[in-house]
Symmetry: C2
Subunit: 423 residues, 2 copies
């Protein structure tokens, strides 16, 4: 990684309500860190090489707060069921295949390649229960230059044998060995505890995971309040919990000291939202998945108003699209239907808000990520939208909006993660 | 156009609830007409050349029942307003530019090129009020080999001067001259009467259009019951009409003898639906547009149950995507949110139903179009989805479902319209 100066048209998010546009500007990047966007090159950096992206759009790299690597292979298929039936019918049989190292190598290769050729620079990724397959995925992601948290999934109940850890002891032993292997082998790719969700994890397993969390100081990711059937099931399984979130919290596995991502939060009660806020839990808003599995639409603009930590997620393969641009599109579209069909007191998401979620909102989970402000990691994607022909010149904000709906991997011109050029 | 035999894996729609899959089969195409899919080449056709598409998917060409060519240039932009404000703020200023022939040639060139490189083989297209620009668009579409209805738009009230026809006489004179020019110049590209919608057309204009319809035996396209503000406005403007549809019907401009497409029908009352059924009006369901403009979701599976004529539409640029595959995706997604958020008595659309709408449902407006059954025009798109890598072999239906979510112009391998090979 060499210190250099990036020149071009920068867009980033000042706040949920404002996109900052700086054209023909310079961004010195020293040790992979942004030194602030400036109109002329400061004296101190005069000798550095300049990479000039001309009129192209330079956006912060995007953070995908929730997706399932083993589901990538069946994205866009089996879109005819709700969550619990979908898991049984499509997901678990597919995830069982990840005991086969040949299948793993190929399938995770496709996944990693697609993630590299997207606007995503950071991601929080579910693998499967298989330690070897999870390490293979981490190896591929490490080589890619992306910076990801990856979780070996834990499940020891209410699922087919093929995707169930045989007992609590072996589950915890496997998980600890995987954590140690990951910590020793990878720099950019970090382990994250990943109990699938309350229905698939026994109390003993959750207690053991808390011990591992404390021992290795690990973040955690799971699912929360996605679907009515799921929520009712959790109520049965955890009758003492005050809400679904509390079913994690009573094991100390719901944020607080250790960072935590909960995917969905479509149907979170006020009580649950308070707990989310108090514990600083990150909400991974997954709009396309919540459409495809007919789960509903999380009231995201309300979550932003409440000051909750919210990021955006593709949730492949509940979501079919690995593109965070398209996740922004789906977030805006779903919020409009929620406003029209369900509750017009909650405003639809603006482009500004969706852009904030995809960059700053999720980026915060990974550190100082998601902006070009001084001190932030230089995560960036450079879009060349010139092939999206238009008979008039367009301003940068309009070009960004259009990219959300229309740009794909063909329009990705360059990509940096923490200063490292990926392509 | 040469008689030949197409070989490959065919998928078409038997009914709204069934996709027919025929692998390794032959389809003789004589004079551009399908002679039926057969397992072996019949004696009578033994000498014909065979075009073998191997394992690729051969789908019926799709019919886009509603889109605006002049809006193509701003698709994916200005997605922050409801219909009436969106028209005033973005649409009318853009459409006004179509008085400039240089702008027209370029912008319609982009549009035509995109339509050619989509799965659409037939379309019902809105132009602008400008006769010369509309003929330019028709010229470009004619050269492309697609088969379209194109409408010079009529508007003589409630809109800015820049997009208003100056008076009824000149509007009708221009429209008649345009019809005559189109009829004399084009074979594949046909004129369709296009009063924009009730709010922008005076009674005198509508009466005159009826005269032209009778004189030239023309179909008609317009908008219906898209947005609450629009519907309330029509009620004010046409107090005698029993419903919005009746505001067209009292001029004889609502189906019956002459085919008619009404876009949207999101909020049609039972009375309006009865009129639609009685008059055989085609509903152009435009799911993405109805999300983007926060209009709502039409209850399409109910319309199918009622036996109404329904097709699918992209409604560019209320919709951002010109792809009918993606229109199918949006139709399914929107129907799931409608089911979850508004009314769970109306089932979400299945893949089968969405495929039916995109092929047979809309195709019927253009004749015997949208199937590979004997006697149907050979409209087809051949998809090569091999670059959508998958670690397992997939059955054709799964590949079709995946294409709905993931395929784009890169996956289009060949395209035929009425037997003519476009590429």
């Amino acid at each position: 990684m060499k210190d250099n100066i990036i020149k071009g048209c920068f867009l980033d998010s000042d706040s949920p309500d404002r996109i900052r546009v700086v054209e023909n500007a310079f961004l010195p990047v020293i040790d992979g860190i942004c030194r602030g966007i400036v109109p002329v090159i400061p004296e101190a950096y005069r000798g550095l090489p300049v990479t000039d992206y001309g009129d192209r759009l330079i956006l912060p790299g995007m953070s995908d707060l929730h997706l399932h690597a083993p589901q990538f292979s069946f994205r866009g298929m089996g879109m005819d069921l709700e969550l619990l039936d979908w898991l049984d019918t499509y997901t678990f049989p597919e995830e069982a295949k990840y005991s086969d190292p040949v299948y793993v190598e190929q399938a995770y290769g496709y996944f990693t390649d697609a993630l590299v050729h997207s606007t995503t620079t950071r991601a929080a990724v579910f693998a499967t229960i298989h330690p070897a397959a999870t390490l293979d995925l981490m190896e591929q992601l490490e080589r890619s230059g992306l910076q990801c948290f990856v979780g070996k999934v834990n499940m020891d109940r209410n699922c087919p044998d093929s995707v169930r850890e045989p007992d609590v002891q072996s589950a915890l032993r496997d998980t600890e060995a995987w954590i140690q292997a990951a910590n020793s082998r990878f720099v950019r790719t970090k382990p994250i505890l990943t109990p699938r969700f309350i229905p698939s994890c026994s109390d003993a397993l959750m207690t053991g995971l808390k011990t591992l969390q404390t021992r290795y100081s690990l973040p955690l990711q799971s699912h929360l309040s996605e679907n009515y059937g799921e929520i009712a099931w959790v109520r049965e399984l955890s009758p003492a919990a005050k809400c679904y979130g509390d079913a994690y919290d009573r094991f100390g596995l719901f944020g607080g000291e250790h960072p935590c991502i909960m995917a969905h939060c479509v149907h979170s009660t006020d009580e649950e939202l308070e707990l989310i806020k108090r514990n600083g839990v990150y909400i991974a808003h997954s709009p396309e998945s919540n459409m495809n599995l007919a789960s509903g639409v999380a009231p995201v603009s309300r979550y932003l108003e409440l000051g909750l930590r919210v990021g955006l997620a593709t949730d492949v393969a509940g979501g079919s699209q690995i593109s965070m641009l398209r996740a922004m599109m789906h977030a805006i579209q779903a919020s409009k239907l929620r406003w029209r069909l369900l509750d017009d007191s909650i405003r639809p998401l603006s482009l500004e808000q969706a852009f904030y979620l995809a960059t700053v909102g999720g980026g915060a989970f990974f550190g100082k990520v998601g902006r070009f402000a001084k001190g932030y990691d230089f995560d960036a994607v450079v879009l060349d939208d010139s092939s999206l022909s238009h008979p008039q010149p367009l301003d940068p904000r309009s070009r960004l909006e259009r990219a959300v709906y229309l740009a794909d991997d063909r329009h990705l011109f360059a990509k940096y993660v923490a200063g490292k050029k990926i392509f």
